[in-house]
Symmetry: C2
Subunit: 147 residues, 2 copies
DNA sequence: ATAAAACCTAAACCTGAGTTTAGGTCAAGG
DNA sequence: CCTTGACCTAAACTCAGGTTTAGGTTTTAT
């Protein structure tokens, strides 16, 4: 069993955030001794899930709904499974998008490297895509394609 | 040259958001004819960069700073390059994290699939990591490792 | 026994990123 | 011409997700 301060250290969340999550109902089974919160293995696993679902873009109230399902027992397995399937798709789409952003960023890094060498952007601005070096053209085209 | 409504269509941003970005100074060179905004190629490229930098987690005021650098000319190439190098690292780290989240989500999908088959979580809860099927154990371990 | 450190609550406050509203102006088609 | 839809502004509003504050209790170390 851990105190809120220890959990804060372990996960790198401020204490105020853990209290806030608790208030939002994200630790429905947390115990207390004379008012003081006791985080057990259940709460640590909840925090791992919270971290994951938050990073995948879910709102607190939807995470709360998931915790409610967990309290409701076996009858909600289908909903919980559906949630994770959906978030898996969301994250896969996000990674794909991030990779596109990465291409844009790589292109811009190269672009400003060139601009610094040239002292201006004249040559770059006149350049058409097929004059780009191979390793950069792919990134450029990916970054400038629609969707 | 495009109107704000056309650009809204092209990029899928609400008109109010484009006006908001303009107000925040993200289109420093935008022209107008009798008060009406005219989006040219410069503004479209700015929007592509805005999209990219926002998705990489940059705040509006930092994007504004970048636009200011663009107005200042060749002397700010180093700062602009640094910005893109840093954001590239940020996005790379984010992708790595997303992949970890994905492993957690895959594990949870499998977990609830099993729970539905079993009708309860008894078997799953007693299971220790090396009893997991190979294809899931890797995800589980990745998802539960620190950092 | 006592003082410092860590815990507690409720409620006010903050921030970023827009959105909405109210009241007007502009331009393209009939 | 004139109307209708798209445009304009300033300012107020919204919302999620916390953080801060004020005032109090509990635990821990000396």
């Amino acid at each position: 069993m851990y105190t809120i301060g220890q959990v804060s250290e372990m996960f790198g969340f401020p204490v105020s955030t853990l209290r806030y999550y608790d208030k939002q109902g994200l630790f429905p089974e947390m115990e207390r001794t004379s008012g003081i919160r006791k985080f057990g293995e259940k709460e640590l696993e909840a925090l791992r899930v919270i971290e994951c679902l938050k990073k995948s873009g879910l709102e607190i109230k939807d995470i709360k709904r998931f915790m409610d399902w967990c309290m409701e027992g076996a009858s909600t397995y289908p909903q919980r499974r559906e949630l994770f399937i959906k978030q898996k798709q969301v994250v896969e789409a996000e990674i794909a998008q991030m990779n596109k952003m990465l291409d844009m960023l790589k292109f811009k890094c190269w672009y400003y490297e060139q601009a610094m060498q040239d002292g201006n952007e004249d040559r770059l601005k006149k350049m058409i895509p097929n004059q780009l070096p191979d390793c950069i053209r792919a990134s450029y085209e990916n970054a400038h394609s629609k969707d």
